[in-house]
């Protein structure tokens, strides 16, 4: 009783301005639960995100454009493990970092396309060095092996050379 009374006394001595400030801080923090965006369902750590490529390189051999208008497929297996939830999906994208280059000669990266399996949730597409292409997204937990069969559009206009480029897969989640 004495202790509680002491507390009351101490609270009464607490400066009014400080008490008001604390109350405001409390209200602000409590109202933060309504903020959209980065604040979301209770989670104490980042969700598990795992992305793995096998193999991490692919090669398109030389071929006659008349006989083989599409070179390939060159297959890459992509292991995707991510968690999503309503409003907080996992997202997998692919972005070409440049065109295919051999010295001064260039083959546009858009000459490379792919088919995905399983589809859905994964998408077919064509590489771009301008903007990431959406490979897949979802709000449910995913632990899948994505098969990507890449094809190169063949053309007589390509100059002789050994071309190379890179593309970046990015898997993000809540």
């Amino acid at each position: 009783m004495t202790h509680r009374g002491h507390e009351v006394v101490e609270l009464a001595r607490f400066p009014k301005r400080s008490r008001a400030s604390s109350f405001i801080v409390l209200l602000v923090l409590l109202s933060a639960s309504e903020w959209p965006g980065e604040l979301g369902p209770r989670a104490t750590e980042a969700a598990t995100i795992t992305l793995r490529l096998t193999p991490s390189s692919l090669a398109f051999p030389d071929a006659s454009p008349d006989v083989t208008p599409l070179i390939g497929p060159a297959t890459v297996m992509v292991s995707v493990k991510a968690e999503g939830s309503p409003g907080y999906p996992w997202v997998l994208t692919l972005l070409g970092n440049s065109d295919l280059r051999s010295g001064a000669s260039v083959i546009p990266i858009t000459a490379i396309s792919w088919t995905s399996s399983p589809s859905p949730p994964f998408n077919n597409g064509t590489l771009s060095r301008v903007s990431p292409i959406l490979l897949g997204t979802g709000i449910a937990h995913i632990n899948a092996d994505l098969r990507m069969d890449f094809m190169l559009q063949n053309s007589w206009s390509y100059n002789v050379g050994s071309y190379s480029a890179t593309a970046t897969f990015t898997l993000s989640g809540p």
């Binding site: 295919l100 970046t168 809540p174």
Partner: protein, 166 residues
């Protein structure tokens, strides 16, 4: 004591605050290689042409029945590589022991890189040339210089076309 109370309030507020969702991501790089080798492919359609009989006074130059002949010279080379298309007659037009000089056959060409010319059995004649890779489409209209000197007969000869890409 007052500080304890404030701390308690703050802790209460933090406990009530939905936890901040931490964004996570993983990236992997895929290396893409492609090989393009030198090659050449020549297509001529049709592969046989015929000059009909005609009065030299009325038709001094006889066009081939099949005109225009379509030529497709596809090449892959370096960006500075020059590819060439030539033709060389394997002889004069022959009908038994009668001959018509192959130099009486000439052509006019249309299409980027293609040139007009006259057949020769002695030296390869240029039909076209191109820099860099590409599919080079052209048309050729053949004609035979007519003459009263030609003996009666059904003449024939072959001509070899060669497309070279360095």
């Amino acid at each position: 004591m007052s500080r304890k109370l404030v701390a308690a309030l703050v802790l209460l507020a933090v406990a009530a605050l939905p936890a901040v969702t931490l964004a996570a991501s993983d990236s992997k790089v895929l290396t893409i290689n492609a090989t393009v080798a030198a090659r050449a492919k020549l297509t001529i359609a049709p592969s046989t042409i015929n000059f009909p009989d005609a009065d030299p006074d009325v038709t001094p130059s006889i066009p081939a029945n099949e005109n225009s002949v379509v030529v497709l010279a596809n090449v892959r080379t370096s960006s500075a590589g020059v590819s060439t298309l030539t033709c060389l007659a394997n002889g004069d037009l022959a009908s038994g022991s009668n001959n018509i000089a192959i130099s009486n056959v000439s052509w006019t060409a249309a299409g980027p890189g293609y040139v007009n010319g006259t057949m020769s059995k002695a030296a390869a004649q240029s039909v076209g040339s191109w820099t860099g890779s590409g599919a080079n489409v052209g048309n050729m209209d053949f004609s035979l210089a007519n003459s009263w000197a030609y003996n009666i007969g059904s003449y024939t000869q072959t001509v070899s076309y060669t497309l070279t890409a360095p």
